[in-house]
């Protein structure tokens, strides 16, 4: 990662020095882009808050009855209704929701556990985050290898095989792929545990390997497709031809120059896909019995723990908005030609 960024810094500063985009203007451009992206992110977050508040009100029927069951006493129902603030008019409920969100950064106390949603989610985040990071690392490494194999053997057997990959994997449910991996590596080969997370850093890494591969497999086809196209593009560019003419070994050109330059758009794609990654992780946690945010979501759904469901939706969406903000800024900074979306 570091290498990629430094390589591109060089090229962008070279572009600036070459009179493509004078320093002062460029700084101004960055400030403008940041402000615009920040405004966009802020507006989207406001809308996200509104959606999260109202999404629970889609539930047909009385949420209090759903929580307590049909045969609850009227007193208990009244008490819970008051505790949840459901006896207030909707606008007052919304104000309370916003107040709680701005003061505590929270969506209320869990009905089941009685503690704040924030602390409940914070407990579960490390495992899920680790899973996502491992999935990202795996998908980057595998995608690079596959894309290089495809691009260097253009129209060869490898290339064709890799190009039909998206057609096949598009219809693969991520939980089913997880089951297949459990079947192969857990049940048949006994290489990995079939579920749960072991204690300790090493144990955690080990037991998260299969789930991470599962999540990564859903990302790899689109990453390979993009990276392959980028590599082919760069391979045909003038500077590669020059390097070849200068007698620099093919592998050095490929791994030192071509891969660096073609990685940026693919990393951007990964930034865009992070929302799918998070969603996939939630489902995969369920398959491998990992007690992360995903399993919290499902247990909250089955116990109708509305504040926790709202909290998970909110934090996930805000995380996605922040990541796409960073991606947008990074895209601008790394590539002076890419002026950012309007």
């Amino acid at each position: 990662m570091k290498m990629l960024i430094s390589a591109n810094d060089k090229s962008s500063s070279a572009a600036a020095a070459g009179g493509y985009n004078p320093g002062g203007l460029r700084a101004l451009g960055i400030i403008k882009t940041v402000l615009r992206a920040l405004l966009k992110a802020a507006v989207v977050i406001v809308c996200v808050v509104v959606v999260v508040f109202f999404i629970i009100r889609l539930v047909p029927g009385d949420p209090v009855k759903m929580i307590l069951g049909e045969h609850s006493t009227p007193e208990a129902a009244l008490k819970l209704r008051h505790q949840l603030g459901l006896d207030l008019p909707v606008w007052q409920q919304f104000v309370r929701f916003l107040h709680n969100l701005f003061v505590n950064g929270d969506t209320g106390n869990s009905i089941v556990y009685g503690v704040s949603t924030k602390s409940l989610i914070a407990q579960r985040v490390p495992v899920s985050l680790m899973l996502i990071l491992m999935a990202i690392v795996i998908s980057i490494i595998v995608s690079m290898l596959l894309a290089v194999a495809a691009a260097t053997h253009k129209d060869g057997v490898q290339d064709h095989l890799i190009r039909v990959l998206p057609t096949i994997t598009l219809g693969m449910p991520v939980f089913w792929v997880g089951l297949l991996l459990i079947l192969l590596f857990g049940v048949q080969l006994h290489l990995f545990p079939v579920g749960g997370v072991s204690a300790g850093a090493g144990g955690m890494l080990y037991s998260l390997t299969l789930p991470a591969i599962t999540v990564a497999l859903s990302q790899i086809p689109s990453l390979v497709r993009s990276l392959r196209a980028q590599i082919l593009d760069v391979l045909e560019s003038d500077f590669v031809v020059t390097l070849k003419a200068a007698g620099i070994p093919k592998n050095v050109i490929l791994f030192k120059h071509v891969l660096r330059n073609s990685s940026i758009p693919t990393l951007m794609l990964l930034g865009v896909n992070v929302s799918y990654l998070i969603g996939g992780t939630l489902v995969v946690e369920q398959v491998f019995d990992i007690r992360g945010v995903g399993s919290l979501l499902f247990s909250s759904i089955s116990s109708r723990d509305f504040p926790v469901i709202q909290g998970i939706a909110l934090y996930c969406a805000v995380a996605v908005v922040i990541i796409s903000f960073i991606t947008e800024i990074a895209a601008y900074c790394l590539d002076p030609r890419l002026k950012g979306e309007k």
Binding site: M172, P173, L183, L282, V283, I309
Partner: protein
């Protein structure tokens, strides 16, 4: 009518050669064949299957494949093949029906945003940006749960979140088409906007929308199956590939086919649909 044909050059000569084009494009041809086989099996389910999908037989539970049950039986002795084929009926029907509303609204909203631009575009972009901020499966799971699980919940879920894909693609396409001369001249002639959108813009964005439809159907099928797996989709005992996989998971150590085979059915359908999508893309891109 004549005027329409001359203004919309892309939509003019598609119909008469569509069958030839299917034959000439292998991916389209084989995609259609695979899909036809699947739909045929689903439609003929009562004729093909010797067993009812929910007929239990506690004397013959968890049988391996045999002459009586070509794919074996599940934990309550139901014939796996019968359940697989009847599940195709359920899942394919719901997949197709669940696409109707998102396809129509998505294409319409996308055209509106692309044609009118300005505040319409800003509003549409804001709504799509808000909805895509939620991880896809997160919002699908929450909306499906909130709208009461089951088949109805699936329709509501995709009506609410499924249109975004179309809106985003069609918005961009419409915006670029609206800069072209034939739309500009239609505008200059004083045709009302809604007429231009439906008569002239729609025929030109429809091919792209149909290509997106093919890939999106795979996405919706996978989502339906995932909801079934998680227990907030199609409720048992109605056969569904997702619940079949989830029920088979308990027996993954010994009877692996209970989970693997329904998944293969999903993958098969996915390959068929994306082949059709790829083929259509080739046919309509070349022109």
């Amino acid at each position: 009518m004549k005027q329409t044909v001359s203004i919309s050059p892309l939509a003019s000569n598609n119909k008469e050669t569509l069958l030839d084009k299917i034959k000439k494009t292998p991916s389209l041809f084989w995609g259609c064949v695979m899909m036809a086989v699947m739909i045929g099996l689903a439609l003929l389910a009562p004729v093909i299957c010797r067993y009812q999908p929910s007929a239990q037989n506690l004397m013959e539970t968890l049988q391996p494949p045999s002459a009586r049950h070509i794919m074996g039986t599940d934990q309550v002795g139901r014939d796996l093949f019968a359940r697989l084929i009847y599940a195709a009926r359920v899942d394919l029907k719901i997949m197709a029906l669940a696409e109707i509303i998102p396809f129509c609204t998505g294409v319409f909203v996308g055209m509106l945003a692309g044609y009118y631009g300005k505040w319409v575009d800003t509003a549409v972009t804001l709504v799509t940006n808000t909805l895509i901020a939620f991880p896809y499966y997160l919002i699908v799971i929450i909306v499906a749960f909130a709208s009461g699980a089951g088949e109805r919940g699936i329709y509501i879920t995709f009506a609410l979140v499924g249109w975004i894909v179309y809106a985003r693609v069609i918005r961009g396409l419409s915006a670029s088409l609206c800069k072209q001369e034939w739309i500009l001249s239609a505008r200059a002639m004083g045709l009302p906007g809604i007429r231009i959108i439906f008569r002239h813009l729609l025929p030109n964005v429809l091919p792209q929308a149909v290509i997106v439809l093919m890939t999106d159907m795979v996405g919706i099928l996978v989502a339906i199956v995932t909801l079934g797996y998680l227990g907030i989709g199609i409720a048992p005992p109605t056969p569904d590939w997702g619940t079949m996989i989830s029920q088979g998971k308990t027996f993954i150590y010994s009877k692996w086919w209970l989970s693997v085979v329904p998944g293969l059915a999903v993958v098969y359908t996915g390959i068929a649909l994306s082949c059709i999508g790829d083929g259509l893309n080739d046919v309509w891109r070349k022109r």
